[in-house]
Subunit: 206 residues, 2 copies
């Protein structure tokens, strides 16, 4: 069976659980102890040289890493990827935005504040990350004033990708009360069939 | 005609020029003065709310941003994207790796050292970025010891994406002499038909 190496509170890992649950694809979770450096062992680096979770084992010995690439792999040929060429590229645009301009600020602030502690000497860097996180939220708010979902009229991988850390941004001290369009989009995402919460420990029954 | 809003020395912009030249797709360049904040104006943010280059105007009023999403848009249905499903996802894996684990370190160190100057108080952050850049290079070296190109046996968008900033990493003070597999891959990339250098100011004649 498909194996997901993961850390439960990670939004990047949650993206994969959410999509797999929505596709009805069964999978098995292998929880990794990040505090103990479980992804930095030679054994794990043989699975994924980038030494991060999520990593999936598609079949024995066949691995794939990077949350958004994993989403793409499972969603090909499904309604989670738009059929229109430009909408499909826009979906990828927002997924690259997520990894470059959103996750390093919103996810890292949350990880430091709510899970691992702010590293010594990084207090000022935390403030900078929070500031840049708000820039990302401003961009998202502007988009969601114009369209219901990031790739257009349809829920897609871009929404799964951006929802993962945005909906828990308050755990990184972000104030979402000033973002009505983002909060309305949360409700549209949560209303999708077979939605799963980040705290749901196992896939919902098929 | 297709318009590319760009900054010539940017590796992210070079990716797009290189692919378009290899595809034989004509395009027009609009050079943006990043020092003068040309991407931060309301006019430019109406084209790309993320306020970065590269941004392409596909037809009047239709824009697309994020270098790797732009690559995907133009390469769909061409040999620059593998036909095998897992190789295609692996290509995306390396493109997300590029934006998350490589560009923020190697490209930013180069930008600070060779173009914009190290921001005040960021000397220690620069050292951290260089250190993390070496981690990315180590991962690439390990991969390229095992296969000729990142998605497998074939030159793909992943190679264009990772070549862009890696081949100029010395401008960010990275020592590439200890990476023989990366340097051999440079030669394979440069030997591809219709290769373009980052300093080539205009597309080669079709």
């Amino acid at each position: 069976m498909l194996k997901l190496y993961q850390f439960q509170p990670s939004g990047n890992c949650y993206k994969v659980r959410l999509l797999l649950n929505q596709l009805g694809t069964p999978f098995q979770v292998v929880e990794m102890d990040l505090m103990a450096g479980a992804t930095r062992t030679p054994e794990f680096k043989a699975k994924n040289p980038i030494a991060r979770v999520p990593t999936v084992e598609l079949e024995p010995g066949k691995f794939l890493a990077e949350s958004n690439a994993i989403l793409w792999y499972f969603a090909e040929g499904t309604p989670f990827i738009p059929t229109d060429k430009l909408e499909r590229a826009r979906m990828l645009q927002w997924m690259f935005f997520e990894q470059y301009s959103h996750e390093p600020y919103i996810a890292v602030a949350r990880a430091w504040i709510s899970f691992f502690g702010v590293p010594a000497g990084k207090e000022r860097e935390l403030e900078e990350r929070i500031q840049k996180g708000y820039v990302a939220l401003d961009v998202m708010e502007g988009e969601l004033k114009q369209r219901p979902f990031f790739a257009g009229n349809q829920y897609s991988l871009a929404d799964i990708s951006l929802y993962a850390y945005t909906h828990v941004a308050e755990e990184g001290r972000f104030d979402l009360s000033r973002y009505p369009a983002i909060r309305a989009w949360f409700e549209r995402v949560q209303a999708q069939p077979r939605h799963l919460r980040i705290t749901d420990a196992v896939p919902a029954a098929s």
